[in-house]
């Protein structure tokens, strides 16, 4: 008989296995998430936060989430190259399947047809989500994409321009405590609101865009705070913390055409859709123009761009102003749709949220900005009304943070990256240059 070797205890073997340890960490992470997003404890029942979230059926969802994350990580480790090849082929598919310009045109028309037709069969709740949560944020993401994705400028106070658009709407329609120079129908105030936001962008941008990277981020962060605090405290002008009410809906009386945007969401949806299409076409041409090339150069290396004869400041201010006016447009439309504005709508979290939408979709990519905004804005609403998940709005940023972390691990270029950006990140992974132009290379001032 051979000698009997004591078997390694099961627990010890598990502990030695990386996979098992990682699985434990993932599940534990899921449980922590369940507790953090579950009910709160109270003074009389301090442990009810734990029992309420762990003894509830929703804990299953979070454990499943942990296991799925573990599966993803393990699969990536074992079959990383294969997965990457498949995902590359998938993301290249639209371009391969639609090589012909005409075919692509038809494809876009079909998409547009769906965007026009589908909302009519939705119920009122989803129509509203389509305007307030998706349409407006798609527009915002498209604008920020110019600033962050094209020009590589990190703007953390982007929502301020949205506020300026919204307050402009209130000003020109006479809803603010101060009286406007002349009263305007909300619809005709749109250009003025856009102009105001653009001007704010130029005024903020001209002096501060000499700064690089992190310094610019801090200045824009400060600007966003200033706008919010001013809106809160300048009671006589902005109506203070309660905000202003009574911003009228849009209406047109022009050359015999009479139309009034009422309480329904659909008319606003179609107006937004029109704006989004116009913005998409304009930005597409901009991206491939001289201006777009200058932005790429600035993003890659500012000093080299300057040495190549590019007026760096001019193009940065231009990107900033274009982004700001898009944001202002979104603010104007939303203000007229819901009829009131309050400073609480313009917190720094929203600037961050829009940035997350852009990063999620793929920086510098127009389809990315649209898809990123649409998906990330749709999901919370869906999960909120879905009985199984019981998503709470205040947990939104927890999930967004988790999504960002997972994205950065598995797909740092975003869901729908631009071809150029993908190359940039691909090279950065091999140590050529850095992944984005938001770094400071030589110091605060160029």
């Amino acid at each position: 008989m051979s000698t009997v070797r004591a078997p390694t205890p099961l627990l010890r073997r598990l502990w030695l296995s990386t996979d098992a340890r990682r699985l434990a960490a993932c599940v534990a992470g899921g449980l922590v998430l369940a507790v953090m997003t579950g009910p709160e404890g109270s003074g009389t029942a301090p442990t009810s936060g734990f029992t309420g979230s762990l003894g509830n059926s929703r804990v299953i969802g979070f454990v499943v989430f942990g296991v799925v994350l573990w599966l993803l990580m393990t699969a990536r480790q074992r079959y990383g190259t294969e997965i990457r090849a498949v995902s590359d082929r998938l993301s290249a598919a639209p371009r391969r399947l639609l090589p012909d310009k005409r075919v692509r045109g038809v494809f876009y028309l079909v998409l547009l047809g769906i965007a026009i037709g589908y909302p009519t069969v939705l119920n009122g709740f989803w129509q509203e989500v389509l305007v307030d949560q998706i349409g407006v944020y798609v527009l915002l993401a498209l604008g920020l994409n110019v600033v962050v994705g094209y020009a590589g400028l990190l703007d953390l106070g982007y929502i301020a321009f949205y506020a300026i658009g919204a307050y402009s709407a209130a000003y020109w329609t006479g809803a603010l405590p101060v009286h406007p120079l002349f009263h305007l129908n909300a619809f005709y105030a749109i250009p003025l609101a856009v102009l105001a936001a653009m001007l704010a962008g130029v005024i903020l941008g001209a002096p501060t865009l000499r700064l690089r990277g992190d310094y610019l981020a801090i200045v824009t962060l400060g600007f966003g705070e200033i706008i919010e605090i001013v809106a809160n405290n300048l009671q006589g002008v902005t109506g203070g913390a309660q905000g202003v009410i009574g911003i009228p809906h849009f209406s047109i009386h022009f050359l015999g055409v009479v139309y009034h945007w009422g309480l329904g969401s659909l008319p606003y949806y179609y107006l937004l859709l029109g704006f989004i299409v116009v913005v998409l076409i304009a930005f597409h041409f901009l991206e491939n123009s001289r201006v777009g090339r200058a932005w790429v150069a600035i993003r890659e290396d500012e000093v080299a761009a300057e040495s190549s004869g590019i007026n760096v400041l001019k193009y940065k201010v231009m990107a900033f102003a274009i982004g700001a006016s898009t944001s202002g447009l979104a603010g104007m439309v939303e203000a007229s749709k819901i009829g009131f504005v309050e400073p609480g709508d313009f917190t720094v979290q929203l600037s961050i949220l829009i940035l997350v939408l852009v990063i999620f979709g793929g920086m510098g990519s127009l389809p990315g900005a649209v898809i990123g905004a649409a998906v990330l804005q749709f999901l919370p609403q869906y999960l909120r009304v879905h009985p199984l998940f019981g998503f709470q709005q205040q947990d939104l940023y927890l999930y967004l943070g988790a999504i960002l972390v997972v994205m950065m691990i598995f797909r740092p270029v975003g869901v729908f990256p631009s071809r150029r950006r993908k190359r940039e990140l691909g090279l950065a992974e091999h140590g050529v240059g850095s992944a984005d132009a938001m770094e400071s290379t030589t110091g605060p001032i160029s």
């Binding site: 090339r293 290396d301 761009a305 190549s308 004869g309 400041l313 090279l427 050529v432």
Partner: protein, 239 residues
């Protein structure tokens, strides 16, 4: 004189970097600016091309005062700057890099592309390759070629030999000679004093923000002080 610096002073904050530089470059010359690390050579070039603000003094290029001009305006006047450390666009292809160099120009850049591909055949072979994937020498060539795309009258070269193998340095210096023969004036900043002086017509030697010596290149090559300080003839010397 094509370029004249008179009494140029530059400060970083309160720290003086250039303490009154007077220097000139004649049309068609190769002039080299030598000196140890921190002597102010790069600052001089950056100030000429507008990347750095002058504190006092004047810079005149072909009769135009460059004071307070932005880099793109200086570039439009016909000054090309190949910055220290090359600074190509790493994620753009070679061709895109060259097109950026011609950013301010209208009309066809075909002849210029042919010219730089003639000067640097290796760039022609790699025109579709990302700039960041080139070797150090190729990147230096790309940086010079990108500058040439702007059709400069004066080319500012900041240490083109930095970090490169001697054979490649020799190639690059030969091309610099060719660029001058094609009619571009050159102001060359170098630490590689021997080769720079063999190439140049005249030279300036800088120390701590001032010019301490200037002469014809062959004179400087023979000067014992230069030999001691920059050509490493005495033990412990060198830059």
């Amino acid at each position: 004189m094509l370029l004249q610096l008179a009494d140029l002073e530059v400060r970083y904050g309160t720290i003086p970097a250039l303490k009154g530089i007077t220097l000139d470059v004649g049309d068609g010359e190769i002039v080299t600016l030598l000196g140890a690390n921190g002597a102010g050579k790069t600052t001089t070039l950056r100030t000429i091309s507008g990347l750095q603000r002058a504190w006092r003094g004047t810079i005149t290029f072909a009769g135009t005062d460059l004071g307070h001009m932005a880099p793109h305006e200086v570039m439009a006047l016909g000054i090309g700057h190949v910055p220290e450390g090359r600074r190509i666009f790493p994620r753009m292809t070679v061709l895109e890099n060259l097109e950026m160099g011609a950013y301010r120009r209208r009309g066809s850049i075909r002849p210029d592309l042919d010219r730089v591909f003639g000067l640097f055949p290796v760039l022609g072979e790699r025109r579709k390759q990302a700039g960041g994937t080139l070797s150090g020498g190729e990147q230096q060539m790309l940086a010079i070629a990108r500058s040439l795309m702007g059709q400069p009258r004066l080319l500012l070269l900041d240490e083109p030999s930095m970090g490169l193998a001697p054979l490649i340095v020799r190639d690059i210096f030969a091309i610099i000679r060719q660029i001058r023969a094609d009619g571009t004036t050159i102001l060359l900043v170098e630490q590689n004093a021997t080769q720079a002086l063999r190439l140049a017509d005249r030279g300036y030697v800088m120390e701590n923000g001032v010019i301490v010596m200037t002469d014809r290149a062959e004179q400087l090559l023979r000067d014992p002080r230069v030999r001691a300080a920059y050509l490493g003839e005495t033990a412990g010397a060198g830059g």
